[in-house]
Amino acid sequence: MKISLKGFFTGTLLAAAIPNLAFAQGIVKLGQIEAQTGPNAIYGFMSSQGVPVAVDEINRGGGFKVGDTTYKLELDALDTRGDPKEATIDLKKLLEQDKVKFVFGPFLSNVFVTIYPYAKQFNGKFLMLGGGTRIHEYVGQPGNEFLIRTWNWDAGPKGFGERMVDYLVKTAHPKKVAMLFQNDSAGKILGDTYEPMFKSRGIETMTEYFEPGTKDFSPVLAKISEFQPDYLFPGYSDAALYDIVRQSIEGNYSKKFFLVRGSTGPGLKNKDGLEDYIVYVPKDFEEAEKNDPKVKHFIEAYKAFYKRDFPYDQAPLCSSSCYDHVYMLVAAMQKAGTVDDVEKIRTTLLGMTYQGIWKISFDDHNEQVFDFDIVHLKKGGAKEVIHVEQ
């Protein structure tokens, strides 16, 4: 049998090209820097739990198409342990070694402030979708185009904090509010943000800070009780809130609470002792699960993926850089028609309104705006959920 040289080469080239034409595949690398362990892990944990669920779902569904190419996601989720130095090393690995263009996190402000100068050098080359409170100061500023903040801001026209304080004034008419926050970047910002909000509504305030890792709050609560506040406004994670709420009730310091960070957990745990517990919750999952199929699906997917119970009280933190955001980023890449052009993807992402577990959009400062719930607990655990559309 004679085979011409020309025919042989043509056949070989076709054989090599056909699989690529039919099954053109690519990988989009995603990075994540969150505190999965350590004292402040509570804020990074849920984000680090939600992203793998979304990545797994997308990949098991065959990936996603952009143009003629089908892409799968590859996630490198690194544990910063809440340590800024470790986070810097992690980010360096993601950006320089792995050439990642999309980084989720951080949620912790102290981590963000430290990595910011390094991250800024890569402006235009990657996107950082983080929920940290301190990101608010930098996001939307020239030279910080890489930053997208994945959390509602407290103050301003669309600020959820303003809505929360309005609700407190409308329902409880307080004259005095005592604020008790952790002595760190985010705690100080909360103090600076909420003091004027209360004052502008004629409410007297007192602000105290506690050391990170504090478990016994009796001394500071005793100090606060001399101010005789109508409401205690503590922050900012459940790690401290369980103890503050319990000790405040047990010591007869205050039985009325107003919270903009944390969950319903501390209130429900102490439901018989408290008088009032008003808390900002990105989503009351127990309630939403009954009516929203997307929420129900997420809860089932979470249980199946991790083979454990769904953390209802921590899940609201998923509104930052988590499950929805992976889908949103994929949708933005598809709409922009590229997985590499960071600027094009960014512009598309910021112009989108995404209806996932939350209805997410971004304001003029690249800051996320989403619907949320106000959960109002009364003595005995009677619960009222007020949904706030943004």
């Binding site: 999965q36 362990t37 350590g38 004292p39 892990a41 509570i42 944990f45 002595n183 105290e208 800070y209 506690f210 050391e211 890792g213 504090t214 478990k215 016994d216 009796s218 001394p219 500071v220 005793a222 100090k223 001399e226 459940d238 790690a239 369980y242 103890d243 319990r246 000790q247 047990e250 010591g251 007869n252 957990g265 501390p266 745990k269 953390p311 009280d313 921590q314």
Partner: protein
């Protein structure tokens, strides 16, 4: 004034928790020559076990605490046989092993229990009030139990043969060996007992505070501070050291910014060490 008295009482109660860890630190150091920084993790085991058996398995609280103590002791025995027995009388190696163990045990707890804080239902509800002073009943119960256990440990070490053997070994290992003291068994026993004490502290801690995997790491520092403040090697001094530390922190937070609460105890510790380098109750050499 009543607020101050209230905080002195609160400091005494909190300090007794520091004291039980300090007791473990001081005993382990005296017999094995290592500072076991992982003791906080055995406290964490006791705390989570108590929470689990009491709140999840619905066993009575005393049973849950006892199971927590047993688990902490067994974990201590395993750690001793697998790790610590190779580091006897080597301060640096012991320190490195115990620090490594913190990482491993904390990661294990994180895997099992996640970062979501666990808060136990009230074991003894309500508060005791005396004028403007209010103390949760459970805190008072915890204090009494801790003082009883520390007191019994002291009695056991000063009156029982095993206790005398332990002290003899701490003072002069060679002489104790020549007198027939089973030294290896004694060293293992002390490590296990220290871990059981930490587990007991953890069980009671769970009835007062919420739990997170990192709780041991935060608490061991207080235990070591209290042991140094009292003078390492002094058993009742460990309780006193813990109480002094607790009162300093509680009262200090009333008059000074509570944001620097830990610093008040440390400043006090440094001030004491300047004048008494061997600690408040340590023998001056």
């Amino acid at each position: 004034m009543q607020v101050v008295i209230g905080q002195i009482l609160n400091g005494i109660i909190l300090g007794s928790l520091y004291g039980i860890i300090a007791l473990g630190v001081t005993m382990t150091f005296g017999i094995t020559g290592i500072v076991n920084f992982a003791l906080g993790e055995f406290m964490m085991i006791g705390a989570y076990a108590t929470w689990y058996f009491s709140d999840q398995a619905m066993l009575p609280f005393p049973v849950a605490v006892m199971l927590g103590v047993v688990l902490a002791a067994v974990a201590g025995l395993v750690a001793d046989q697998v790790l610590f027995r190779f580091t006897r009388n080597n301060l640096v190696n012991g320190l490195l092993v115990s620090i490594g163990l913190i990482s491993v045990m904390e990661s294990g707890a994180l895997l099992l229990f996640t970062t979501t804080p666990k808060s136990m239902d009230a074991v003894v509800a309500g508060s005791l009030s005396l004028g403007a002073i209010t103390l949760p009943r459970m805190k008072v119960v915890v204090f009494l139990l801790l003082v009883a256990v520390i007191g019994l440990t002291w009695l056991g070490l000063s009156r029982a043969w095993l206790g005398r053997a332990t002290r003899a070994y701490a003072q002069n290992p060679e002489a104790a060996m020549l007198m027939g003291v089973p030294t290896k068994l004694l060293q293992t026993g002390v490590v296990v007992y220290s871990c059981a004490l930490a587990g007991f502290g953890g069980g009671l801690y769970a009835s007062l505070f919420s739990l997170e995997p990192s709780l041991g790491g935060l608490f061991i520092l207080k235990g070591v501070e209290a042991a140094i403040l009292a003078g390492v090697g002094n058993l009742l001094g460990a309780l006193a050291g813990g109480v002094i530390l607790g009162v300093t922190e509680s009262v200090g937070s009333l008059y000074l910014p509570s944001a620097f609460r830990d610093a008040y105890g440390l400043v006090f510790l440094v001030a004491i060490l300047l004048f008494r380098p061997a600690g408040l109750f340590g023998s001056q050499r």
